[in-house]
Symmetry: C2
Subunit: 187 residues, 2 copies
DNA sequence: GCCGTGTTGTACCGATTAGTAAAATAGTGA
DNA sequence: TCACTATTTTACTAATCGGTACAACACGGC
Protein backbone atom coordinates (compact mmCIF):
# COMPACT_ATOMS: atom_id res chain seq x y z
CA UNK A 1 0.00 0.00 0.00
CA UNK A 2 1.63 3.19 -1.11
CA UNK A 3 1.68 5.53 1.81
CA UNK A 4 3.39 8.67 0.56
CA UNK A 5 2.91 11.86 2.52
CA UNK A 6 -0.64 12.54 1.47
CA UNK A 7 -3.30 11.68 3.98
CA UNK A 8 -6.91 12.61 3.76
CA UNK A 9 -6.69 14.14 7.22
CA UNK A 10 -3.84 16.44 6.14
CA UNK A 11 -6.21 18.41 3.96
CA UNK A 12 -8.80 18.98 6.67
CA UNK A 13 -7.34 22.12 8.30
CA UNK A 14 -7.02 23.97 4.99
CA UNK A 15 -10.43 22.67 4.01
CA UNK A 16 -11.92 23.98 7.24
CA UNK A 17 -10.39 27.40 6.67
CA UNK A 18 -11.95 27.65 3.22
CA UNK A 19 -15.41 26.73 4.50
CA UNK A 20 -15.01 29.14 7.39
CA UNK A 21 -14.08 32.08 5.19
CA UNK A 22 -16.36 31.47 2.23
CA UNK A 23 -19.22 29.35 3.54
CA UNK A 24 -20.40 26.11 2.01
CA UNK A 25 -21.73 27.49 -1.26
CA UNK A 26 -18.89 29.98 -1.60
CA UNK A 27 -16.21 27.33 -1.14
CA UNK A 28 -15.71 26.47 -4.79
CA UNK A 29 -13.62 23.51 -5.82
CA UNK A 30 -11.06 25.89 -7.30
CA UNK A 31 -10.72 27.72 -3.97
CA UNK A 32 -10.49 24.40 -2.18
CA UNK A 33 -7.90 23.19 -4.63
CA UNK A 34 -5.81 26.31 -4.17
CA UNK A 35 -6.03 26.14 -0.37
CA UNK A 36 -5.20 22.46 -0.07
CA UNK A 37 -2.78 22.22 -2.96
CA UNK A 38 -4.77 19.27 -4.27
CA UNK A 39 -6.24 18.90 -7.73
CA UNK A 40 -9.78 17.87 -8.38
CA UNK A 41 -8.74 14.30 -9.00
CA UNK A 42 -7.09 14.01 -5.60
CA UNK A 43 -9.98 15.72 -3.87
CA UNK A 44 -12.52 13.32 -5.34
CA UNK A 45 -10.20 10.44 -4.60
CA UNK A 46 -10.15 11.32 -0.91
CA UNK A 47 -13.73 12.57 -0.78
CA UNK A 48 -15.79 10.62 -3.32
CA UNK A 49 -18.90 12.36 -2.05
CA UNK A 50 -17.61 15.75 -3.20
CA UNK A 51 -18.11 18.97 -1.30
CA UNK A 52 -20.71 17.47 1.00
CA UNK A 53 -18.33 14.79 2.20
CA UNK A 54 -15.56 17.36 2.63
CA UNK A 55 -17.78 19.54 4.79
CA UNK A 56 -18.97 16.54 6.79
CA UNK A 57 -15.35 15.54 7.43
CA UNK A 58 -14.52 19.06 8.55
CA UNK A 59 -17.53 19.19 10.86
CA UNK A 60 -16.50 15.82 12.24
CA UNK A 61 -13.01 17.03 13.02
CA UNK A 62 -14.30 20.18 14.67
CA UNK A 63 -16.67 18.07 16.74
CA UNK A 64 -13.86 15.77 17.78
CA UNK A 65 -11.67 18.71 18.77
CA UNK A 66 -14.37 20.23 20.93
CA UNK A 67 -15.25 16.85 22.36
CA UNK A 68 -11.66 16.38 23.43
CA UNK A 69 -10.68 19.88 24.49
CA UNK A 70 -13.95 21.36 25.70
CA UNK A 71 -16.72 18.90 26.45
CA UNK A 72 -14.50 16.30 28.10
CA UNK A 73 -12.74 18.98 30.15
CA UNK A 74 -16.09 20.27 31.33
CA UNK A 75 -17.21 16.79 32.34
CA UNK A 76 -14.03 15.59 33.95
CA UNK A 77 -12.91 18.64 35.92
CA UNK A 78 -12.93 17.85 39.61
CA UNK A 79 -14.05 21.38 40.49
CA UNK A 80 -16.64 22.70 38.03
CA UNK A 81 -15.17 26.22 38.04
CA UNK A 82 -11.94 24.74 36.73
CA UNK A 83 -13.86 23.14 33.89
CA UNK A 84 -15.45 26.45 32.99
CA UNK A 85 -12.13 28.26 33.11
CA UNK A 86 -10.55 25.60 30.92
CA UNK A 87 -13.43 25.87 28.48
CA UNK A 88 -12.98 29.63 28.16
CA UNK A 89 -9.24 29.19 27.61
CA UNK A 90 -9.82 26.60 24.91
CA UNK A 91 -12.55 28.67 23.23
CA UNK A 92 -10.45 31.82 23.30
CA UNK A 93 -7.60 29.95 21.69
CA UNK A 94 -9.72 28.15 19.14
CA UNK A 95 -11.47 31.29 17.93
CA UNK A 96 -8.17 33.15 17.85
CA UNK A 97 -9.46 35.68 20.37
CA UNK A 98 -12.20 36.77 18.01
CA UNK A 99 -10.31 36.71 14.75
CA UNK A 100 -11.76 33.40 13.72
CA UNK A 101 -15.35 32.51 13.01
CA UNK A 102 -17.31 29.52 14.32
CA UNK A 103 -17.93 27.38 11.26
CA UNK A 104 -20.84 25.57 12.87
CA UNK A 105 -22.49 28.83 13.85
CA UNK A 106 -21.95 30.26 10.39
CA UNK A 107 -23.47 27.17 8.80
CA UNK A 108 -26.39 27.41 11.21
CA UNK A 109 -27.34 30.90 10.02
CA UNK A 110 -27.55 30.05 6.32
CA UNK A 111 -29.47 27.54 4.28
CA UNK A 112 -26.55 25.18 4.75
CA UNK A 113 -28.10 24.36 8.10
CA UNK A 114 -30.65 22.01 6.56
CA UNK A 115 -27.95 19.97 4.86
CA UNK A 116 -25.96 19.44 8.06
CA UNK A 117 -28.75 19.78 10.60
CA UNK A 118 -27.72 16.68 12.54
CA UNK A 119 -24.08 17.70 12.89
CA UNK A 120 -24.88 21.31 13.79
CA UNK A 121 -27.50 20.41 16.33
CA UNK A 122 -25.26 17.75 17.85
CA UNK A 123 -22.36 20.14 18.28
CA UNK A 124 -24.38 22.76 20.12
CA UNK A 125 -26.58 20.42 22.12
CA UNK A 126 -23.63 18.42 23.42
CA UNK A 127 -21.79 21.61 24.27
CA UNK A 128 -24.86 22.90 26.12
CA UNK A 129 -25.32 19.58 27.92
CA UNK A 130 -21.71 19.41 29.12
CA UNK A 131 -21.82 23.03 30.24
CA UNK A 132 -25.16 22.51 31.96
CA UNK A 133 -23.87 19.46 33.84
CA UNK A 134 -20.81 21.37 35.05
CA UNK A 135 -22.96 24.24 36.27
CA UNK A 136 -25.27 21.81 38.04
CA UNK A 137 -22.33 20.14 39.74
CA UNK A 138 -21.34 23.63 40.82
CA UNK A 139 -24.46 23.74 42.94
CA UNK A 140 -27.07 25.28 40.66
CA UNK A 141 -30.50 23.83 40.16
CA UNK A 142 -31.24 21.95 36.98
CA UNK A 143 -33.39 24.70 35.48
CA UNK A 144 -30.98 27.48 36.40
CA UNK A 145 -28.02 25.52 35.04
CA UNK A 146 -29.77 24.90 31.73
CA UNK A 147 -30.70 28.56 31.36
CA UNK A 148 -27.21 29.69 32.25
CA UNK A 149 -25.58 27.26 29.83
CA UNK A 150 -27.72 28.59 27.01
CA UNK A 151 -26.87 32.15 27.96
CA UNK A 152 -23.13 31.47 27.99
CA UNK A 153 -23.26 29.78 24.58
CA UNK A 154 -25.29 32.65 23.14
CA UNK A 155 -22.84 35.12 24.59
CA UNK A 156 -19.89 33.37 22.96
CA UNK A 157 -21.56 32.99 19.56
CA UNK A 158 -22.92 36.52 19.63
CA UNK A 159 -19.52 37.90 20.56
CA UNK A 160 -18.07 36.25 17.46
CA UNK A 161 -20.74 37.88 15.30
CA UNK A 162 -20.11 41.23 16.94
CA UNK A 163 -16.35 40.99 16.62
CA UNK A 164 -16.67 40.30 12.90
CA UNK A 165 -19.33 42.94 12.36
CA UNK A 166 -17.44 45.70 14.14
CA UNK A 167 -14.13 44.41 12.83
CA UNK A 168 -12.97 44.50 16.42
CA UNK A 169 -11.69 41.25 17.94
CA UNK A 170 -11.76 43.09 21.24
CA UNK A 171 -15.51 42.57 21.36
CA UNK A 172 -14.88 38.84 21.64
CA UNK A 173 -12.04 39.23 24.12
CA UNK A 174 -14.22 41.42 26.33
CA UNK A 175 -16.97 38.80 26.26
CA UNK A 176 -14.53 36.13 27.41
CA UNK A 177 -13.18 38.17 30.32
CA UNK A 178 -16.73 39.16 31.19
CA UNK A 179 -17.66 35.48 31.43
CA UNK A 180 -14.54 34.72 33.43
CA UNK A 181 -15.33 37.44 35.92
CA UNK A 182 -19.00 36.66 36.26
CA UNK A 183 -18.38 33.11 37.31
CA UNK A 184 -15.39 34.03 39.42
CA UNK A 185 -12.91 32.16 37.38
CA UNK A 186 -10.57 35.14 37.07
CA UNK A 187 -6.98 34.44 36.24
CA UNK B 1 -44.82 58.96 -16.05
CA UNK B 2 -46.27 55.47 -16.04
CA UNK B 3 -46.81 54.49 -12.47
CA UNK B 4 -48.20 50.98 -12.60
CA UNK B 5 -47.98 48.88 -9.49
CA UNK B 6 -44.29 48.19 -9.71
CA UNK B 7 -42.07 50.17 -7.41
CA UNK B 8 -38.50 49.46 -6.65
CA UNK B 9 -39.32 49.45 -2.96
CA UNK B 10 -42.01 46.81 -3.45
CA UNK B 11 -39.37 44.23 -4.27
CA UNK B 12 -37.27 44.91 -1.17
CA UNK B 13 -39.07 42.62 1.32
CA UNK B 14 -38.90 39.59 -0.97
CA UNK B 15 -35.33 40.52 -1.83
CA UNK B 16 -34.43 40.67 1.85
CA UNK B 17 -35.96 37.26 2.45
CA UNK B 18 -33.86 35.70 -0.31
CA UNK B 19 -30.63 37.19 1.03
CA UNK B 20 -31.58 36.14 4.53
CA UNK B 21 -32.21 32.53 3.56
CA UNK B 22 -29.47 31.98 1.02
CA UNK B 23 -26.80 34.55 1.83
CA UNK B 24 -25.30 36.96 -0.68
CA UNK B 25 -23.50 34.42 -2.87
CA UNK B 26 -26.30 31.90 -2.61
CA UNK B 27 -28.94 34.39 -3.69
CA UNK B 28 -28.81 33.70 -7.40
CA UNK B 29 -30.61 35.89 -9.88
CA UNK B 30 -32.96 33.03 -10.65
CA UNK B 31 -33.89 32.69 -6.96
CA UNK B 32 -34.30 36.45 -6.72
CA UNK B 33 -36.44 36.46 -9.84
CA UNK B 34 -38.66 33.71 -8.48
CA UNK B 35 -39.05 35.38 -5.08
CA UNK B 36 -39.81 38.85 -6.42
CA UNK B 37 -41.73 37.80 -9.49
CA UNK B 38 -39.47 40.05 -11.53
CA UNK B 39 -37.48 39.07 -14.58
CA UNK B 40 -33.86 39.90 -15.09
CA UNK B 41 -34.80 42.87 -17.23
CA UNK B 42 -36.87 44.46 -14.50
CA UNK B 43 -34.33 43.68 -11.81
CA UNK B 44 -31.52 45.38 -13.70
CA UNK B 45 -33.86 48.22 -14.55
CA UNK B 46 -34.51 48.90 -10.87
CA UNK B 47 -31.04 47.95 -9.69
CA UNK B 48 -28.53 48.79 -12.46
CA UNK B 49 -25.74 47.85 -10.09
CA UNK B 50 -26.91 44.24 -9.98
CA UNK B 51 -26.80 42.08 -6.88
CA UNK B 52 -24.56 44.47 -5.00
CA UNK B 53 -27.04 47.31 -5.38
CA UNK B 54 -29.91 45.02 -4.40
CA UNK B 55 -28.13 43.98 -1.22
CA UNK B 56 -27.20 47.58 -0.42
CA UNK B 57 -30.83 48.60 -0.82
CA UNK B 58 -31.94 45.80 1.48
CA UNK B 59 -29.33 46.71 4.08
CA UNK B 60 -30.46 50.32 3.82
CA UNK B 61 -34.07 49.40 4.45
CA UNK B 62 -33.17 47.23 7.41
CA UNK B 63 -31.10 50.06 8.80
CA UNK B 64 -33.97 52.50 8.36
CA UNK B 65 -36.38 50.13 10.08
CA UNK B 66 -34.12 49.69 13.09
CA UNK B 67 -33.37 53.39 13.17
CA UNK B 68 -37.06 54.14 13.36
CA UNK B 69 -38.31 51.33 15.56
CA UNK B 70 -35.34 50.55 17.77
CA UNK B 71 -32.63 53.20 17.90
CA UNK B 72 -35.00 56.17 18.01
CA UNK B 73 -37.15 54.48 20.65
CA UNK B 74 -34.08 53.88 22.77
CA UNK B 75 -33.01 57.50 22.46
CA UNK B 76 -36.38 59.15 22.93
CA UNK B 77 -37.88 57.12 25.75
CA UNK B 78 -38.44 59.32 28.78
CA UNK B 79 -37.60 56.47 31.15
CA UNK B 80 -34.69 54.33 29.88
CA UNK B 81 -36.29 51.08 31.05
CA UNK B 82 -39.21 51.80 28.76
CA UNK B 83 -36.81 52.21 25.87
CA UNK B 84 -35.20 48.86 26.64
CA UNK B 85 -38.55 47.14 26.93
CA UNK B 86 -39.68 48.64 23.63
CA UNK B 87 -36.43 47.52 22.01
CA UNK B 88 -36.97 43.95 23.15
CA UNK B 89 -40.54 43.99 21.88
CA UNK B 90 -39.44 45.31 18.50
CA UNK B 91 -36.56 42.83 18.26
CA UNK B 92 -38.74 39.90 19.24
CA UNK B 93 -41.23 40.88 16.58
CA UNK B 94 -38.65 41.56 13.88
CA UNK B 95 -36.84 38.27 14.32
CA UNK B 96 -40.16 36.44 14.47
CA UNK B 97 -39.39 35.17 17.97
CA UNK B 98 -36.34 33.32 16.71
CA UNK B 99 -37.68 31.99 13.44
CA UNK B 100 -35.96 34.67 11.41
CA UNK B 101 -32.27 35.31 11.00
CA UNK B 102 -30.44 38.64 11.30
CA UNK B 103 -29.28 39.40 7.78
CA UNK B 104 -26.61 41.80 8.98
CA UNK B 105 -25.24 39.27 11.43
CA UNK B 106 -25.26 36.55 8.80
CA UNK B 107 -23.41 38.81 6.36
CA UNK B 108 -20.91 39.64 9.10
CA UNK B 109 -19.90 35.99 9.57
CA UNK B 110 -19.07 35.31 5.93
CA UNK B 111 -16.75 36.87 3.39
CA UNK B 112 -19.65 39.11 2.40
CA UNK B 113 -18.64 41.25 5.35
CA UNK B 114 -15.80 42.88 3.43
CA UNK B 115 -18.12 43.99 0.64
CA UNK B 116 -20.58 45.68 3.00
CA UNK B 117 -18.24 46.48 5.88
CA UNK B 118 -19.47 50.06 6.23
CA UNK B 119 -23.14 49.15 6.37
CA UNK B 120 -22.63 46.23 8.75
CA UNK B 121 -20.43 48.15 11.11
CA UNK B 122 -22.79 51.13 11.05
CA UNK B 123 -25.80 49.01 11.92
CA UNK B 124 -24.19 47.41 14.96
CA UNK B 125 -22.26 50.43 16.18
CA UNK B 126 -25.32 52.67 16.08
CA UNK B 127 -27.37 50.03 17.83
CA UNK B 128 -24.69 49.70 20.51
CA UNK B 129 -24.41 53.46 20.88
CA UNK B 130 -28.16 53.97 21.32
CA UNK B 131 -28.35 51.12 23.80
CA UNK B 132 -25.31 52.40 25.68
CA UNK B 133 -26.78 55.89 25.94
CA UNK B 134 -30.06 54.53 27.30
CA UNK B 135 -28.24 52.46 29.90
CA UNK B 136 -26.14 55.48 30.89
CA UNK B 137 -29.27 57.59 31.29
CA UNK B 138 -30.55 54.81 33.52
CA UNK B 139 -27.81 55.65 35.96
CA UNK B 140 -24.92 53.42 34.93
CA UNK B 141 -21.39 54.65 34.45
CA UNK B 142 -20.10 55.11 30.93
CA UNK B 143 -17.84 52.05 31.01
CA UNK B 144 -20.46 49.80 32.58
CA UNK B 145 -23.08 50.97 30.10
CA UNK B 146 -20.81 50.27 27.15
CA UNK B 147 -19.95 46.79 28.42
CA UNK B 148 -23.58 46.01 29.12
CA UNK B 149 -24.71 47.21 25.71
CA UNK B 150 -22.19 44.93 24.05
CA UNK B 151 -23.31 42.02 26.19
CA UNK B 152 -26.98 42.53 25.34
CA UNK B 153 -26.25 42.72 21.61
CA UNK B 154 -24.11 39.59 21.78
CA UNK B 155 -26.84 37.81 23.69
CA UNK B 156 -29.43 38.67 21.04
CA UNK B 157 -27.24 37.71 18.10
CA UNK B 158 -26.01 34.55 19.78
CA UNK B 159 -29.56 33.53 20.63
CA UNK B 160 -30.44 33.77 16.94
CA UNK B 161 -27.51 31.50 16.07
CA UNK B 162 -28.52 29.06 18.80
CA UNK B 163 -32.16 29.03 17.80
CA UNK B 164 -31.22 28.18 14.22
CA UNK B 165 -28.59 25.65 15.22
CA UNK B 166 -30.84 23.76 17.63
CA UNK B 167 -33.86 24.32 15.37
CA UNK B 168 -35.58 25.61 18.48
CA UNK B 169 -36.99 29.16 18.35
CA UNK B 170 -37.50 28.81 22.08
CA UNK B 171 -33.79 29.45 22.58
CA UNK B 172 -34.35 32.96 21.24
CA UNK B 173 -37.57 33.49 23.18
CA UNK B 174 -35.84 32.45 26.40
CA UNK B 175 -33.03 34.92 25.73
CA UNK B 176 -35.52 37.74 25.31
CA UNK B 177 -37.40 36.98 28.53
CA UNK B 178 -34.07 36.54 30.28
CA UNK B 179 -33.07 40.04 29.18
CA UNK B 180 -36.45 41.45 30.17
CA UNK B 181 -36.16 39.98 33.65
CA UNK B 182 -32.57 40.96 34.23
CA UNK B 183 -33.23 44.62 33.65
CA UNK B 184 -36.55 44.51 35.45
CA UNK B 185 -38.62 45.32 32.48
CA UNK B 186 -40.98 42.42 33.03
CA UNK B 187 -44.36 42.61 31.41
C1' DG C 1 -56.04 57.58 -32.08
C1' DC C 2 -50.85 58.64 -31.38
C1' DC C 3 -46.43 59.51 -29.03
C1' DG C 4 -43.07 59.03 -25.51
C1' DT C 5 -41.44 56.95 -21.56
C1' DG C 6 -41.25 53.31 -18.15
C1' DT C 7 -41.22 48.46 -17.82
C1' DT C 8 -40.52 43.64 -19.18
C1' DG C 9 -39.27 39.23 -21.75
C1' DT C 10 -35.83 36.94 -24.23
C1' DA C 11 -31.76 35.71 -26.33
C1' DC C 12 -27.20 35.78 -25.57
C1' DC C 13 -22.32 36.40 -23.57
C1' DG C 14 -18.04 34.48 -21.35
C1' DA C 15 -16.84 32.61 -17.04
C1' DT C 16 -17.32 29.37 -13.57
C1' DT C 17 -19.73 25.74 -11.25
C1' DA C 18 -19.69 20.53 -9.41
C1' DG C 19 -18.66 16.42 -10.95
C1' DT C 20 -16.87 12.37 -14.27
C1' DA C 21 -13.61 9.55 -16.72
C1' DA C 22 -9.60 7.84 -17.92
C1' DA C 23 -4.84 8.05 -18.93
C1' DA C 24 -0.41 8.84 -16.74
C1' DT C 25 2.54 8.77 -12.82
C1' DA C 26 4.76 7.25 -8.56
C1' DG C 27 5.68 4.56 -4.66
C1' DT C 28 5.77 -0.28 -2.40
C1' DG C 29 6.30 -5.15 -1.63
C1' DA C 30 8.09 -9.09 -3.70
C1' DT D 1 13.07 -5.65 -12.05
C1' DC D 2 8.22 -6.31 -11.95
C1' DA D 3 3.52 -6.03 -10.79
C1' DC D 4 0.16 -3.79 -8.20
C1' DT D 5 -2.18 0.02 -6.42
C1' DA D 6 -2.58 4.59 -4.61
C1' DT D 7 -2.45 9.05 -6.30
C1' DT D 8 -2.54 12.83 -9.62
C1' DT D 9 -3.04 15.24 -13.98
C1' DT D 10 -5.78 16.36 -17.73
C1' DA D 11 -9.64 16.87 -20.58
C1' DC D 12 -14.30 17.01 -20.64
C1' DT D 13 -19.13 17.25 -19.58
C1' DA D 14 -23.85 19.86 -18.73
C1' DA D 15 -25.63 23.33 -15.97
C1' DT D 16 -25.61 27.64 -13.93
C1' DC D 17 -23.58 31.95 -12.74
C1' DG D 18 -23.92 37.43 -13.14
C1' DG D 19 -24.52 40.60 -16.52
C1' DT D 20 -25.70 42.92 -21.24
C1' DA D 21 -28.41 44.22 -25.26
C1' DC D 22 -32.40 45.01 -27.33
C1' DA D 23 -36.80 44.32 -29.09
C1' DA D 24 -41.54 44.08 -27.48
C1' DC D 25 -44.81 45.76 -24.53
C1' DA D 26 -47.91 48.84 -21.39
C1' DC D 27 -49.44 52.85 -19.89
C1' DG D 28 -50.41 58.15 -19.24
C1' DG D 29 -50.76 62.65 -21.39
C1' DC D 30 -52.48 64.79 -25.32
Amino acid sequence: MPRIVAERADALPALAEVFREHGYEGASLSLIGAATGLGKGSLYHFFPGGKEEMAKAVLGEIDAWFEQHVFATLREATRPEEGLAAMLDAVDGYFRSGRRVCLVGAFALGDTRDRFAREIRGYFSRWAAALCAALARGGRGAAAAAALAEEILADIQGAIVLARALDDPGAFARAVTRLRRRYEMGR
